[in-house]
C-alpha cells in the first residue's frame, strides 16, 4: 500500500477528513470505490488494534449459528478481518431461514454447547431470556476491560437498542432501567410502504397518507392497472402476519396488544372500539385489494409479487422492498419508498420493527471470547462495511445514517428510502408487549384475521372471541 | 442302516395335543409306513424325527443315540417332502447336490454322486433345469433324488406320491420298493393311500388323533383291524358296516341279516345280546341263487366297474346299503331282486360303543392296539 493512501485513510479514521473528502482523494489517486473499501477495512482493523488488546483471546475458537441471510453473508465476507485482528478462529453453521429458528430452539433447549453466538430476532429473546439460554450482555458492554473504546454503544439508535432490552417481567417495558440486554441489534427493518412508481404514475395516484387513503389508492390501482392487485401484506397463520404493516398501523392508532395492570397482570387489549375500527378497515383493504390467496402469504410472496409486478405496493418491511429493487426482478429499478402514517391524526409514522440481532448463548464455553466477536460484528467498522459494501439495511448505528457514501448509495438506487427512514426512525420500536406467550397471541391473532377476511366471523365478534381466548391462555400460564 | 426309537413323544400346539405320548420302534433296514387320515400327526411326527421341530416331551433315538436335542443337520437323515420343497433358485443338479455340498465333498464326488442317483431316478437329462422348468413327475423324482443323494442311513418320505398324477403314482409304487431296497436305508414312509401303505410297508403304523392305533404287517392290519376306523381305512371298496346284535344257539354265535342267519364261527359266546357292528369286506360277499344256504334277498341298486373288480351296490330288505365286489368279468345280476351270501368266517365284529374289535376266541393277540 502506498503511504499516501494510507495517510488519507488514517486521516479519515481519525475523523480529520470526511468521507466525501476521502473518496475524492482516493479517486484522484485512481483507486476505485471497491478497493477503497478493502483498504479502509484493513486500516480500520489496524485502528481498532491500536487502542485495545484484541489479541487477548488469540488461539481460541468460536462457533456461530447463522441464518441464511444477506447480513450473515456480509459478516462472513468480512470475517477474515476479525480472525486477523484477534487471532480467534470462527466457524459457523448456516441454516435456511425457513427452518432457522427451529434449529435455534432445538440447539438451545438441549443446552448444546456447540454454538457460542447466534442470530436472533428480538421477539425470540422473550423466550430465550427467561428460559436461561442467553446471556445479559450489559455486563460486557459496560466493562471497559472487555469492550474496545471505539465500540460506541450510544451510537445505536435508542429505539432499536431498547427494543432488545427487557427486564424479563411479563409486560415489563422494553429498555427499562432494570432491563437486561438480551441481544445486540445488527440491522433492522421498519415497516413502511414500497411502491411501484410506474404503476402509481399510470394510475395517477399519490402515496397514501393514511389507512383510508391506502384503501382507496389500492382499489384504484387494482382497477386502473389491471391484472394486478393493489396492496401486498402478509396473511399466513403466523406471528409474521401481525408484526409488519398490520401492527405498525395498529400502533399508529395508539392501540396495544395487551394491557398491563398495576399489579402486573396481563389482559388482551384488541377488542377496543378503535381496534375494531382499524381491523375493519384492514380486513376491507385485503378483501378489496389484497392478494387473492392472502391467507397463505408470508414475506417471500409479498416481496416476490412486488418484484414481479403482480402488486402495486406493499406495506411491509422496507428491506424487502429494497431487495426487490435489484437482482433479476422484473420491477428492479422501478420501486420507491415512503413512510406511512395510518392514523390521520398521528403526526409521524410508528413502524413496528424486526431486529436481526446477535445473542450470546448461555452455554458458550468462553463468553469473553464470544463477546470479542459480538463487539466486532456489531462494531462501527463492520457496520460501515456492511452498509456500504454489502446490503446491510437498515443499519442500527446513527453514525452510518449520517455517512455520506451510504446515503448517496441509497439515494441513487432507492428513491425515497432515506427520507422514509428519517421520517419514521424516531417512532420505530417494537410495539408488542414483551411476554412469553408472544407466539400464542400472535398466531391466534393471525388466525382470527384470516377468519375475518374469509367472512367466517364478523370483526366485533371475532375480536371479542380472540380477547377471551387470549385472556384464558394468559391465566392458564399464570400471567393474567 | 440304523434304528429309530421314539419314546413317549408329546407335541402340543397351544392347547391342541398333536402327538400324545407316542412311542415307536423302527428296526434296522425296515420300511415302516405311517398311515392315517390328514391331521393324524404323521407329518409332525416325521418332522420331529427330522429335527426341524422339537418335541415337548419324550426322546428320539437314532441308532440308539439320543438325538432329541441334536440339530437337523447333524442327524444324518434324508427327507422328501410331500410338496417336494425344491430350492426354486437352484438347478435340479444343485438341488440334488445339496446333501453332498454340506459334507464338503470334492467337486468330482459331488458330480458323480448326483449323476448316480439321477440316473437311478431317470432324471439325468434335466439336471441343468430349474424347478420351474420341470414337470411334476420330474420334480418328484428330483426331490427323491435329493433325499437319497447323501446315502442317509435313515430316510423319511412324507407322502412323496401325493402330488403326482395317478399314472405316475402307479409307476412309482412299483418302482419304489426296489429303489428303497437298493439304498438299504431304514425308511419311514408317510401316506394316506392304503394301497401305497400295503405295497411298501414292512410294517404299517396306523395313526389317528396323535396316537398309533395299530401297528403290524399289512396282512395283520387288513385281516385284524383293531377298530372300526382302521377297518374302514383299509380296503377298496370300503368295508360294509352294519349294526347287529349277535345271538347265540348251540351252533355258535350268529347274526341275522334280513332275517337270514349268518354264522360267525369262533366268536366268543359273550357277545350274544351285545350291540355290535359287523364288518364285512365286499369281497367276502358273493351273489348266489335264492336256494343257496344263507342266501340274503337284496335289490341291486347300481354297478360300478373298478379296475380289476366290479362293485355292486345293493339294498337289503331293511334298505341297508351293502357293497359287493367280484372279480371283473364274472357274471352277476345287473338289476332287480337277487340274493347274496355272506362269508361269516372273514367277517369282523366290533363293539358298537367302543368300536374295538371283538377277537375270536383263542386267537393270539396280534399287533398293538394303543
Amino acid at each position: 500500500m502506498h503511504d499516501k493512501e494510507k495517510d488519507l485513510i488514517s486521516a479519515f479514521l481519525r475523523g480529520s477528513v470526511d468521507r466525501r473528502g476521502l473518496l475524492k482523494g482516493l479517486g484522484t489517486m485512481g483507486i476505485t470505490a471497491a478497493t477503497a473499501g478493502t483498504l479502509m477495512n484493513m486500516m480500520s482493523t489496524n485502528a481498532q488494534a491500536a487502542d485495545f488488546d484484541w489479541k487477548k483471546h488469540s488461539g481460541k475458537s468460536l462457533k456461530l449459528l447463522l441464518n441464511k441471510h444477506p447480513y450473515a453473508d456480509a459478516m462472513i465476507a468480512n470475517l477474515q478481518n476479525f480472525k486477523d485482528l484477534t487471532g480467534i478462529d470462527v466457524k459457523y453453521d448456516v441454516f435456511p431461514e425457513d427452518v432457522y429458528f427451529d434449529k435455534v430452539t432445538a440447539a438451545l433447549s438441549s443446552g448444546s454447547t456447540e454454538y457460542d453466538a447466534f442470530m436472533t430476532g428480538a421477539y425470540m429473546t422473550w423466550t430465550y431470556g427467561p428460559a436461561g439460554w442467553i446471556t445479559d450482555l450489559k455486563e460486557w458492554i459496560n466493562d471497559p476491560e472487555k469492550t474496545n473504546p471505539n465500540y460506541a454503544w450510544n451510537d445505536f439508535l435508542p429505539g432499536v437498542k431498547n427494543s432488545c432490552a427487557w427486564n424479563g417481567i411479563p409486560g415489563g417495558a422494553l429498555g427499562s432501567e432494570d432491563a437486561k440486554q438480551w441481544c445486540i441489534p445488527w440491522a433492522f427493518e421498519q415497516n413502511n410502504i414500497t411502491y411501484n412508481r410506474e404503476m402509481f404514475d399510470k394510475a395517477g395516484v399519490q402515496v397514501p397518507g393514511n389507512i383510508d387513503e391506502m384503501i382507496a389508492t389500492s382499489a384504484k390501482l387494482q382497477k386502473d392497472i389491471g391484472g394486478i392487485y393493489g396492496i401486498g401484506v402478509r396473511g399466513s397463520r403466523s406471528w409474521a402476519t401481525i408484526h409488519p404493516g398490520f401492527l405498525s398501523g395498529y400502533a399508529n392508532f395508539n392501540q396495544k396488544d395487551l394491557n398491563v395492570s398495576a399489579d402486573g397482570k396481563l389482559s388482551a387489549a384488541m377488542n377496543t372500539a378503535e381496534s375494531k375500527a382499524y381491523h375493519t378497515k384492514w380486513v376491507q383493504m385485503i378483501q378489496e385489494s389484497g392478494p387473492k390467496d392472502w391467507s397463505t402469504y408470508t414475506w417471500y410472496q409479498v416481496g416476490t409479487d412486488l418484484g414481479a409486478g403482480a402488486s402495486a405496493m406493499i406495506f411491509d418491511a422496507d428491506c424487502l422492498g429494497y431487495f426487490m429493487n435489484g437482482g433479476d426482478n422484473k420491477m428492479a429499478g422501478k420501486l420507491s419508498y415512503a413512510a406511512f402514517t395510518a392514523n390521520p391524526e398521528a403526526k409521524a409514522s410508528t413502524p413496528n420493527i424486526w431486529i436481526w440481532s446477535l445473542a450470546m448463548s448461555n452455554f458458550s464455553k468462553d463468553k469473553d471470547a464470544t463477546w470479542y466477536f459480538l463487539q466486532w460484528a456489531s462494531g462501527p467498522e463492520h457496520a460501515l462495511f456492511g452498509a456500504t459494501k454489502m446490503d446491510f439495511v437498515d443499519p442500527v448505528r446513527q453514525s452510518i445514517w449520517k455517512d455520506e457514501m451510504f446515503r448517496e448509495k441509497l439515494n441513487k438506487k432507492y428513491p425515497g428510502y432515506v427520507e422514509m427512514f428519517d421520517a419514521s426512525a424516531a417512532g420505530a420500536s417494537i410495539k408488542f408487549t414483551p411476554q412469553p406467550l408472544f407466539f400464542d397471541v400472535t398466531t391466534e391473532w393471525a388466525s382470527t384475521l384470516q377468519k375475518m377476511v374469509a367472512k367466517e366471523v364478523p370483526i366485533d365478534e371475532g375480536l371479542d372471541q380472540l380477547a377471551q381466548s387470549i385472556d384464558r391462555q394468559l391465566k392458564e400460564a399464570g400471567l393474567g | 442302516m440304523t434304528t429309530l426309537e421314539l419314546r413317549n413323544i408329546v407335541k402340543r400346539y397351544k392347547t391342541n395335543t398333536v402327538l400324545d405320548d407316542l412311542s415307536l420302534d423302527v428296526a434296522n433296514g425296515e420300511t415302516l409306513v405311517l398311515f392315517g387320515p390328514s391331521g393324524a400327526g404323521k407329518t409332525v411326527l416325521l418332522r420331529l424325527v427330522a429335527g426341524v421341530i422339537d418335541p415337548d416331551e419324550g426322546k428320539i433315538l437314532i441308532g440308539g443315540e439320543d438325538m432329541t436335542d441334536v440339530d437337523a443337520e447333524h442327524r444324518g437323515i434324508g427327507m422328501a417332502f410331500q410338496n417336494f420343497a425344491l430350492f426354486p433358485h437352484m438347478s435340479a443338479h444343485d438341488n440334488i447336490a445339496s446333501p453332498l455340498t454340506a459334507t464338503r465333498s470334492s467337486a468330482d464326488a459331488i458330480k458323480s454322486g448326483v449323476g448316480k442317483v439321477a440316473k437311478l431316478l431317470k432324471i439325468d437329462h434335466v439336471l441343468s433345469h430349474h424347478p420351474k422348468a420341470l414337470s411334476n413327475g420330474q420334480k418328484q423324482r428330483t426331490a427323491l433324488a435329493r433325499a437319497l443323494a447323501g446315502s442317509p442311513p435313515l430316510l423319511l418320505l412324507d407322502d412323496p406320491l401325493r402330488n403326482v398324477d395317478a399314472k405316475l403314482r402307479f409307476e412309482m409304487r412299483l418302482e419304489l420298493p426296489r429303489l428303497l431296497a437298493s439304498q438299504g436305508a431304514t425308511v419311514v414312509y408317510v401316506t394316506q393311500d392304503y394301497k401305497e401303505a400295503m405295497a411298501l410297508g414292512d410294517r404299517i403304523a396306523v395313526m389317528a388323533n396323535g396316537k398309533i392305533r395299530q401297528i403290524g404287517t399289512p396282512e395283520e392290519i387288513y385281516n385284524a383291524p383293531a377298530d372300526i376306523g382302521i377297518a374302514s381305512l383299509f380296503g377298496d371298496p370300503t368295508i360294509n358296516l352294519l349294526d347287529v346284535t349277535p345271538q347265540k344257539d348251540i351252533e355258535g354265535v350268529y347274526v341275522e341279516i334280513s332275517k337270514v342267519r349268518v354264522a360267525l364261527p369262533g366268536m366268543p359266546d359273550s357277545v350274544a345280546g351285545q350291540s355290535c357292528v359287523i364288518g364285512i369286506r365286499p369281497e367276502s360277499i358273493s351273489f348266489a341263487k335264492d336256494t343257496a344256504k344263507g342266501a340274503v334277498p337284496i335289490e341291486v341298486e347300481a354297478e360300478t366297474p373298478l379296475n380289476e373288480k366290479t362293485v355292486t351296490l345293493v339294498l337289503t330288505v331293511g334298505k341297508r346299503e351293502v357293497l359287493v365286489s367280484r372279480p371283473a368279468g364274472t357274471p352277476g345280476p345287473v338289476s332287480g331282486p337277487a340274493h347274496i351270501v355272506i362269508d361269516g368266517r372273514t367277517a369282523f365284529l366290533f363293539d358298537k360303543a367302543s368300536g374295538a374289535l371283538i377277537r375270536k376266541a383263542g386267537t393270539a393277540q396280534q399287533g398293538v392296539a394303543a
Binding site: 423466550t127 428460559a131 387473492k292 391467507s295 397463505t296 398466531t443 377468519k451 | -
Partner: protein, 289 residues
C-alpha cells in the same frame, strides 16, 4: 434362543428411542413451558384435562386430523387400486409408467408443497390459470377456508397415491391365475369376479398399504404446514401442526407432548386393530393354501 438373538439388535436400537419417548410422556404430565422454567412442575394430567374441558381448539384438532386422514386414505386407496388395476397387465410400458408414477413420492413433501403453492398462485400459477380457462374464476385453492382442505388433500393424494399403487400393483400381479381363468371360462361377470375373487385375495395387501398410509396421514405435517401453516383460520390445525407450533414457537413443551401422546395413542389403537385383522387374514389365507 436364536430368534431372540436375531431380533435383539433391532430391538436394542429401538429401545434407545424408547427412552426419550418415555421422557416425553413424563413431560406431558408437567406444566412445562421453556419460557417459564420456574413454573415447571408435575400437574396431574392438567394438560389432558384442559384438552377435554377447556380447550375448544383441541376438539377441532381431533376432528380435522381424523377427517383429513379418513379422506386422504380413502381416496388414495380407491385411486391407487384403480391405477393398479389399469397397470395390472405385465408389459414394458406399464412397468415404466408405474415407476414414473413413483416420482411424486420421491420429492420431499415440504418441497412438493412449495411447488404446489406456486402452481396454485392466482397470478403465476399454472393450475390457477388452467382453472381459470375452464371457468373456475375464483377458485382460491389453499387460501380459502372452503377449499383449503380439498387442496391439501389433493397434494397429499398426488404425493402418496403412488405408495398405495405400487403395493397393490405388486399384490395384484402376485395373485394366482387359476381362479381368474376358471371364472373367465365359466363366463362369470367381471364385476362379480372383482368383488368376490380379486378384492378378498387382495385384502392383506390393502390392509398393509392402508396401515402405513393411515399412520402417516394422521400425522401429516410437511404438506399442511408448507401449504397453509394450519390456516386459514383453524381449518387445518391437525395434531402435528399444533404440536409443532406449541413446541417450536410457544415452547409449551407440556401441551405439545400431551398432544402427541394423544396422537400416539390414536395411532396405536388404529394400528392394533389393523394388525390383528392382518394376522387373522394371513392365517386364513395360509389355511386355504
Amino acid at each position: 434362543m436364536l430368534p431372540y438373538v436375531l431380533s435383539l439388535p433391532a430391538l436394542l436400537v429401538c429401545i434407545g428411542i424408547l427412552i426419550p419417548f418415555v421422557t416425553a410422556v413424563i413431560y406431558s404430565f408437567q406444566r412445562y413451558r421453556l419460557s417459564q422454567p420456574w413454573s415447571r412442575q408435575f400437574n396431574w394430567g392438567e394438560n389432558y384435562y384442559n384438552f377435554l374441558f377447556n380447550d375448544p381448539g383441541f376438539w377441532n384438532t381431533l376432528k380435522i386430523s381424523l377427517l383429513y386422514a379418513g379422506i386422504t386414505v380413502t381416496l388414495e386407496l380407491l385411486l391407487g387400486l384403480g391405477i393398479a388395476l389399469l397397470l395390472q397387465k405385465r408389459s414394458r410400458v406399464n412397468n415404466f409408467i408405474s415407476i414414473m408414477l413413483l416420482l411424486p413420492l420421491m420429492i420431499a413433501p415440504a418441497l412438493a408443497a412449495l411447488m404446489w403453492k406456486l402452481m396454485t398462485n392466482p397470478g403465476f400459477g399454472i393450475l390457477s390459470y388452467l382453472a381459470n380457462q375452464v371457468g373456475l374464476q375464483n377458485f382460491r385453492w389453499a387460501s380459502s377456508p372452503d377449499t383449503a382442505l380439498l387442496t391439501v388433500v389433493l397434494v397429499d393424494i398426488w404425493v402418496y397415491t403412488p405408495f398405495i399403487m405400487i403395493l397393490l400393483l405388486a399384490g395384484l400381479r402376485s395373485l394366482p391365475t387359476q381362479p381368474f381363468e376358471a371364472a373367465a371360462l365359466d363366463g362369470v361377470p367381471r364385476t362379480f369376479v372383482f368383488f368376490r375373487i380379486t378384492l378378498p385375495m387382495l385384502t392383506p395387501y390393502i390392509l398393509t398399504a392402508t396401515l402405513f398410509r393411515l399412520l402417516d396421514s394422521i400425522q401429516q405435517f410437511d404438506i399442511i404446514y408448507a401449504m397453509t401453516q394450519g390456516g386459514p383460520g383453524n381449518a387445518l390445525t391437525v395434531f402435528q401442526v399444533e404440536a409443532y407450533l406449541n413446541f417450536f414457537q410457544s415452547t409449551n413443551v407440556g401441551r405439545s407432548a400431551a398432544l402427541m401422546v394423544i396422537l400416539w395413542a390414536i395411532t396405536y389403537l388404529l394400528s392394533n386393530i389393523f394388525i390383528k385383522n392382518w394376522l387373522r387374514l394371513r392365517e386364513r389365507a395360509r389355511g386355504e393354501a
